[in-house]
Each structure stands twice: as C-alpha cells, then as structure tokens.
Symmetry: C3
Subunit: 150 residues, 3 copies
C-alpha cells in the first residue's frame, strides 16, 4: 500500500465505516441504520466469542433486534485502527474495541476484543462484508450470560 492522498482518503473512509457501525450498535434502536453498515451478503461471525455466525441482512437484523431488546446501554470504543490490506474494492482492517454494556436485567459487561473486518466498496461507500472478533483479554463470564441466545 503506497502512502499517498488516495491511501489517506480510503483509510479515513474505512475508519468512518467502522465508527458508523459503533454508532449503530450503541444507538440500540435503529435496525435499518445498522443494516446500512453491512453488505447484503455480509457474514457476521461471532465464532471467536463462542457465539453463532449470522449470514445476510435478515439474520443480522434478527440478532441485533434481540440485542437491542436486551440492553439498556452500549458503548463501543475504537482504538488501534489499522488498514491491513487495501485493494480497489476490498479492504481488511483491524481495530481494538473496548465493548461496554449494561443489560436491562442489570448485568454489566466489559470486554476487550480485536475486530477483524473485511469491507467492500459499494456505490454507497465502504460496507462491512465480513465481521469477526476475538478477545484480546480474558472474557468475563457475564458475556455468555447476556449474549448467548443460540
């Protein structure tokens, strides 16, 4: 990846696509906005957390509908954003996420994970086509207690 204006513009757009996803997940209310972050055939793979894999808008929508029902607060903090590969229409990025939440049942969650994302450039800008994450610090038991609906 040559470092030039084109690279800086794409890196900025890729980071904004990730921040848009975090805004959507923290908003806890707008499924359409959430889906606009993903390509229609996107894979949302939580295997790294011992949770299921969701394929396509319909399954992703069902997952977040449940999450938004369960949670009263969400905050996903992005650090260490890196572009791993960048081609004309596809890119791989990684970032550390500090994921915080409180469920309506009063359970607090705090996880430190790394996102590994593949994004595809569409006519509406970069969208996530493959989402995966894995812990960078040991996971608390509360995560499975809240999220495991499988």
């Amino acid at each position: 990846m040559e470092r030039n204006l084109e690279y800086l513009l794409e890196k900025c757009a890729l980071e904004e696509a990730l921040l848009k996803y975090c805004t959507a997940v923290d908003k806890l209310s707008d499924i359409e906005f959430m889906l606009s972050c993903f390509t229609e055939d996107a894979v949302f793979d939580l295997g790294g957390l011992q949770l299921p894999r969701y394929v396509g808008h319909k399954e992703i929508a069902a997952f977040f509908t449940q999450v938004f029902k369960d949670m009263s607060h969400h905050a996903h903090l992005v650090t260490n954003f890196r572009v791993e590969s960048l081609a004309k229409d596809a890119a791989d990025v990684k970032a550390y996420i500090t994921g915080m939440g409180r469920s309506k049942a009063g359970i607090d969650i705090l996880v430190y994970v790394r996102y590994d994302l593949r994004l595809r450039k569409t006519s509406q800008g970069w969208k996530i086509s493959f989402f995966s994450e894995e812990p960078i610090m040991p996971m608390p038991d509360s995560v499975l207690a809240v999220h495991d609906k499988s």
Copy 2:
C-alpha cells in the same frame, strides 16, 4: 462533506483542537492554556451531567480554577472522533471520552461520556464555541460528589 485533502486537513485540525483541550484539562494547572481552547463567547454546558452551564472565558476560568484545585489527577481519553458537519468557519464534532480522575480528597472518578462540540475557525485556528457532554454509560455517584460546586 466531500472527502478530499481539504476535508482531511480540517478533520486533523479539529481533532487536534479537541486533544489540546484534553491536554489542558489533564494538565490541571494552566488556566490561560485552557482558555485558549475556547472562543471568548464560548458556552460550556454541563447540563447533560446535571451540572451548570458556564458562559464566556470568565465563568469557564472560574470553573476550571476550582476543578484544578480539587483534583490531583486527570486523564481524558478520546476515541470515536467524528466530524458531523463542516462549513467554512464552523464545525460540529462528536467523540467518546473516557474521563478519569482522582481528587485530592482521594475520590476516584471514571465516566464514559460523549462530547458534542461546535468549533469556530479563528485566526488562531479552531476553537470550541459550544461544549456539551452526556453520559454513554450510567454515571457513578462519585461524579456529583466531586464536581457539584453549584
């Protein structure tokens, strides 16, 4: 907002203006440096934290003089910085802030908030003209114990 070199330069300058504010608030000693982050008519609105609203350099200086007297440590970590709107001389930005502190009385504070800022472009660069913040996670009781001087 078209994504071009001009946008990247302004985004960089806006983020640097916010980081300058964080440096000032974490320094806990230099009121003049703090005031240089704000336009003279700036509104510093803590209503989102159930705290007062300060208008202009004099009121903002009085607030931070008290804060600097009360606190022995401060650390304000910025993530999820976003430009919401950008015109020739005005911009709106949002960011998540992890705000940490210890008071001289030994009380530890940890809050997760979102800043909503309006900045104005001056002859000395971007300065904050409107500052507001609100919690993104439930606030601990210690915040009001330490900061509520009203």
Copy 3:
C-alpha cells in the same frame, strides 16, 4: 509544522509506527518483529515507572524476552496521539496508552500512561529511537510486582 499533505502522510506513518509497536508488545512472541520497531541504538527508558533503562537491540531484546515469558495476555490501547515536533528525519510524538495485561501467575495489570517517543526516519520507515513513559493516573502496586526484574 505546516499542515499540508506531507504533514498528514508523516503523521499517519508515525501513528502506524506506534501501532506496530503495540502489535508487537501484545503479540507476546516475536522478538525480531519487536526489534524492527526500534533503531539499533534505541533507548528504552522505563525510568518514569521506576524501572530500568535499556540501550540498544540486545538489551531491549532481553527485556522483552522476559516480559513475553511472564505474561499470558497484553493489550495496549492508543489514544490521544499527537505529533509534538516534526523535522525531516526526526519526530517527537506523545500518546496516552491504556496498558493491560495478565501474567501467567494470574496477576492482572491495568495502567494509564503517556508515552513520550522520539522517532527517526530510516530506509525502512519511522523507528523509535527514544522511548519513555510516565503514569497519568496513580500506578497500582501490581506493576512493580510483575515487571521489576532488575
């Protein structure tokens, strides 16, 4: 420092050099990769944490060999990255780091520090030539318990 495309490209490269270091320290396994972040004559000064100062690749390698042996998890989160000075072949940067770890003995560490780095531009890009850090929040006792091998 004039704000132009050259500045944005160098700032991006400097931040990527710091993130590479964090990737290396969090990987806990690859000493060669770690050393590639430093100039051969680099000074790695932990005096700000009441720990030793290591000079050159050999001493830095010995330090991290021990750290990698001791720790099972590491996560170094970068925020508030700032370029303090930028010349043709040298730059000073600062950043806040949230440093987390778990030792194999089961001790958890969480520190909030500020890195003060000097980097030198080499034929393989920016490398750290002087590394120092100091606490921005009070340090827990666990840090010295885990890291003090001197």
